[in-house]
Amino acid sequence: MKMIIEEINKIAEKIKRDISLMEVCGTHTEVIARHGLRELMPKNVKLTTGPGCPVCVTSQEDIDAIVNLALSGIPIATYGDMMRVPGYYGSLDQAREKGSLVFSVYSIEDALKLQKNYTNLVFFGLGFETTAPMTAYAIKKGLTVYSIHKLFLPAMQALLKIGELKIDGFLCPGHVSTIIGVEPYKSMKVSQVIAGFEVEDILVAIYMLLKQIFDNKTIVENEYLRLVKKQGNPKARREIFDVFDITDGNWRGFGVIPQSGLEIKNKYKKFNAKIKYKKILDQVDFSFSRKLTSCKCGEIIRGLKSPQECPLFKKVCTSENPIGPCMVSMEGACNVKYRYN
């Protein structure tokens, strides 16, 4: 590890300008914080956290919608981290405290089992390409889903297009890449390295990024060769696009990003909770969902602010009593900072 850090220092010195690298996977954020890598970087290399946590990028409207479904008596299942994200009408956890049927599941297979007892169960389906194939599989088996699944690359492209932050290179997400492969990243003219999740993986990927920048290259390299194949997992991608259409996606911090969402195809519309429970959802007042708060999750997701720059961080927003999703999710920038500070 010491040797890689020495190489990083040497190449950073040769570059002779400030470099900003962004990690866009929540598990990378966790590894970087656990090993104090931000502090280990040369003075001119800054590591910034981007929109890599699916819970964090869920819009307030979607949280308010699912909580209202729960409060109106529809049983809801979702992955654990989503339970505590507060919306205007409270969180799913709080809905459960009020008597709603809300279940936290590890796998969508658990949701399929629950559906046997609760036939009108709705699964709140979230995550990027890594998790969307499992939801597609369950929809084919007859599970009703409220989909907030998203495609990852449009968010990276949006960051580059908005241009609020200079990004010299991306540490690309390992497990999303397991599904999508290497090719799709080539549409972006920026230095990119797909990285694994050991500390050595991250350090080697940082070195590879700096080498590309020194050589004036904007190519895609794959450091996570032991798992990410060039072609990804075609079967998993087929599963996604059998069931989902690409639509506009609503992201916290960005708003609507064109062609970034996954919505259930018409042929499976009887399993689409947004259609099935339209009458309930039409009655929800979403005007509160768009109200501005002091929470800076949106700017933190875009890499513009660090958690410490949020006025709520560690004062009223804590891991025990989170105000925004970046503090709820174990992969959120605020939660990670809170635990490793």
């Binding site: 996977c25 929540g26 992955y79 969508i108 497990h175 050991e198």
Partner: protein, 69 residues
Amino acid sequence: MCLAFPGKIISINKNSAMVDFNGIKKEINISLTPDVKKNDYVVVHTGFAIQKMGKQDAKEALKLSSPSF
């Protein structure tokens, strides 16, 4: 959300496999990796195998006992 764990397939029954994660055995869905066989190593995310991996890499990862290797 994107945590994944390596494990070894010890038996297969249609789309389901019993996978050994360093001594802990769990039933895993293998429909996304249709070519896997008994004794193969796979990486598992939310109850589904998402990719097959080399024996040596998997053993190394299991030795490190890391959740996402």
